[in-house]
């Protein structure tokens, strides 16, 4: 087939695109090609949602996350509660008990103080319920037009029990994949709020702090290999990361993955796949097969894990690849998102 050529490829790596922030392949490229070479160290190299550091014999989890959500307030939460839950969850996915958070605010000139007050009140409420304290912070104000109302960064530290070792490189063939509940609620709740999407919806964000759920799971067994909260990039990106880091294949059963009817309908209409839509109160866990049922039972005792179930298993056939057994008995790939999940035209 010599002679067949395509239009000249464009240099993909000269400019930051929105897709670099989507949690998919472009984000991973940025981490691998820009950040990792610059900051190289053993804690970072684990590439988990949190770093595990050891200070004088104490195992600490340390994590940070920035929140740029628009709109600031949405059904089921706001940027404040999200900023608290997000960092708590990053810590919890390492098995840590979250203790202290920092909060930094980048505020655009012109924001109403009343709005800021509502956000801060919501953060305090979320922190109190989760049993963490916000102990330090920072404020910067940027000129009108240089921000988008309000950006928040939170960092957090937590204690990791001695016998807990969770990492995305530990999945083994035969392990089971557990999902804590319905996917896509957060992303669709946000999209539905955004300007231009005028369809009726009662979908609420699932934003929640997951550490109590994690504690319940860790009490059952020490054979949980790793946990992830499938936020940006959705279930698909989180599982692809695990498959790549553990060098295993993961096969899911389509009919086992719970998606609310409203979320499915909204996704159909918008041309999105719920597998790629963000969640803020769900986790996936890779666990040894013999403890899978016990872990699911423990999760179901917590309201945050009420709909927990096994959605698939780990294999050694297609290393680095996530596949899906469809309802029709055929198999397809569940790929990582290349850029932003774009609304399709039809």
């Amino acid at each position: 087939m010599a002679g067949i050529t395509c239009p000249t490829p464009l240099p993909a790596k000269d400019t930051i695109l929105l897709g670099h922030g989507s949690g998919g392949k472009l984000s991973a490229d940025l981490v691998r090609e820009v950040f990792l070479p610059a900051f190289k160290n053993s804690a970072l190299a684990e590439l988990n949602d949190q770093a595990l550091v050891n200070i004088a014999g104490t195992r600490l989890a340390f994590s940070t996350d920035s929140f740029v959500v628009k709109p600031l307030f949405f059904p089921g939460g706001d940027i404040g509660s999200l900023a608290v839950h997000g960092t708590i969850n990053d810590l919890a996915m390492g098995g840590a008990t979250p203790l202290f958070l920092s909060a930094a605010f980048i505020i655009e000139e012109g924001l109403s103080i009343e709005v800021l007050r509502r956000v801060v009140t919501s953060m305090q409420r979320a922190a109190r319920i989760a049993g963490v304290q916000i102990v330090t912070g920072d404020t910067k104000v940027v000129e009108k037009g240089s921000g988008d109302g309000l950006f928040i960064n939170t960092s957090g530290i937590g204690l990791v029990p001695e016998d807990v070792r969770l990492s995305a490189n530990q999945a083994r063939p035969g392990d089971k994949v557990i999902l804590s509940g319905f996917i896509g609620d957060h992303g669709i709740a946000i999209l539905a709020q955004r300007k231009g999407l005028e369809f009726e919806t009662t979908i609420e964000s699932d934003s929640a702090a997951l550490h109590s759920l994690v504690t319940g799971m860790l009490n059952v067994t020490n054979e949980i290999r790793c946990m992830r909260d499938p936020t940006r990039g959705g279930l698909s990106s989180a599982l692809n990361e695990i498959a790549a880091q553990s060098q295993v294949g993961i096969e899911l059963r389509e009919d086992a993955i719970p998606v609310r009817e409203e979320v499915r309908g909204a996704c159909e209409m918008l041309g999105l796949d719920p597998m790629y839509v963000a969640n803020e109160g769900k986790l996936i866990a890779i666990v040894a097969p013999r403890v899978a049922d016990a872990v699911v039972s423990a999760m179901r005792r917590n309201t945050l894990g009420r709909d927990a179930r096994i959605i698939g298993s780990v294999n050694q056939d297609r290393r680095g690849l996530v596949t899906m057994r469809t309802g029709l008995g055929t198999t397809r790939i569940v790929d990582m998102l290349a850029g932003d999940q774009l609304p399709r035209i039809c």
Partner: protein, 380 residues
């Protein structure tokens, strides 16, 4: 090619249970197997149908003699290079806000794409509907708002409505860069080609929801090929395939409608009226295929005040693609995406070489997303 109306209908019907039912699908596949005695090549026109076939592995359920090839019905894929170049040039104009459907932003033009232009500071916005662009124009009288109006007959009524509304309101800062394509002339061009190997077509259900299916009668008459209007769920597609196989095996050729829950013979007459009011039929370039006579729509002269092509003197921009580009053969069903030497290596969704790898409706993207393991596993 889904609308709000179809969404509401879906919700009422709990479509995903009924039309994705594994037992019904397997029963249909069995019946197709029993009725097939010879090899047949079937083409689904619409990229949405291609997507369903790949996502559910419908082709894996079919007998070996049935080959599915994928048609040119991905609106993003067939939008000509020069339209993309024009959009990029417009976005760089001072005072212009360019509004587009989301998946146009990544389609490579001659030297850039809309995402990169946006990253460099151009005011490029994503909308789900052209009426959002009208709103933006209304709210920003100091900006010149241009909507990139592409697509098949499905998006044409809404785009026409946007132009109609802008004209009625005297919204002089709103215009459309129109690059509309029509399905029946494309099928005619495929059938008239000496290279054609397609024996029967699944016509696009959403296009026919707007247009009805009377205009397919002449294709059946002139070329003797069966055409079945099909839906977008697994049961729809399998049923449409069965209907085509039955016609082929019995040496019949007529237009049939599988997608009866959405399509009738005459289509949506009100939608057709607004299209006719605003647009007229014109020759149209298709990316990868070339110019097909009377296969597109352009704004009527009464709407010249809202025609970005005229307002911004965009006609000076022309671009021809390399004739040897593989995507042309993919879009005509002559080759499968995995036949391309660049597939999955040089050409991936994050670094697309051609439009069919960009849009989620593009055949290459569908293969990449759902099927590249087929090649890895079989070593093909």
């Amino acid at each position: 090619m889904r609308s709000r109306a179809t969404y509401l209908m879906f919700c009422e019907m709990r479509y995903n249970d009924e039309y994705r039912d594994a037992r019904i699908c397997h029963a249909l596949a069995r019946e197709i197997g029993e009725q097939t005695t010879r090899p047949w090549v079937l083409m689904e026109i619409c990229g949405g149908q291609t997507h369903t076939i790949m996502r559910y592995g419908i082709d894996d359920l079919l007998p070996r003699q049935i080959e599915l090839v994928h048609g040119p019905g991905c609106p993003v894929c067939v939008t000509p290079l020069e339209t993309i170049d024009k959009a990029i040039a417009l976005a760089a104009f001072p005072g212009v806000t360019l509004v587009s459907y989301g998946d146009m932003l990544r389609v490579p033009g001659s030297s850039s794409d809309l995402f990169r232009v946006k990253a460099q500071g151009a005011d490029v916005r994503v909308a789900y509907s052209p009426l959002e662009a009208v709103k933006i124009a209304r709210a920003n009288p100091d900006r010149r708002v241009v909507f990139l109006a592409i697509g098949f007959e499905t998006t044409a009524p809404a785009n026409a409505m946007a132009a109609w509304q802008a004209k009625r309101e005297g919204l002089s800062n709103f215009s459309l860069l129109v690059s509309h394509v029509l399905v029946p002339p494309a099928i005619r061009a495929l059938l008239a080609s000496p290279q054609n190997r397609v024996n029967a077509f699944i016509a696009p259900g959403h296009v026919c929801t707007v247009m009805g299916y009377q205009e397919y009668e002449s294709l059946v008459r002139d070329f003797g090929v069966p055409i079945v209007v099909g839906g977008f769920e697994p049961v729809d597609l399998l049923e449409a395939i069965l209907m085509l196989v039955q016609q082929l095996e019995n040496r019949q050729a007529r237009v049939e409608n599988q997608y009866v829950r959405s399509v009738n013979y005459k289509g949506n007459v009100a939608a057709q009226q607004i299209m006719n009011e605003v647009f007229e039929i014109s020759d149209q370039k298709w990316r990868g295929i070339g110019t097909i006579p009377r296969s597109g729509l352009r704004l009527r002269s009464e709407y010249a005040a809202h025609d970005a092509n005229a307002l911004f003197r965009m006609d000076v921009i022309t671009a021809d693609e390399p004739a040897e580009c593989m995507s042309a053969e993919v879009l005509q069903g002559l080759r499968k995406p995995i036949d391309c030497p660049a597939f999955g290596t040089l050409c991936t969704p994050e670094n697309p070489l051609g439009a069919p790898m960009v849009s989620s409706e593009g055949a290459c993207a569908a293969y990449y997303q759902y099927r590249r393991h087929a090649r890895e596993v079989t070593g093909a």
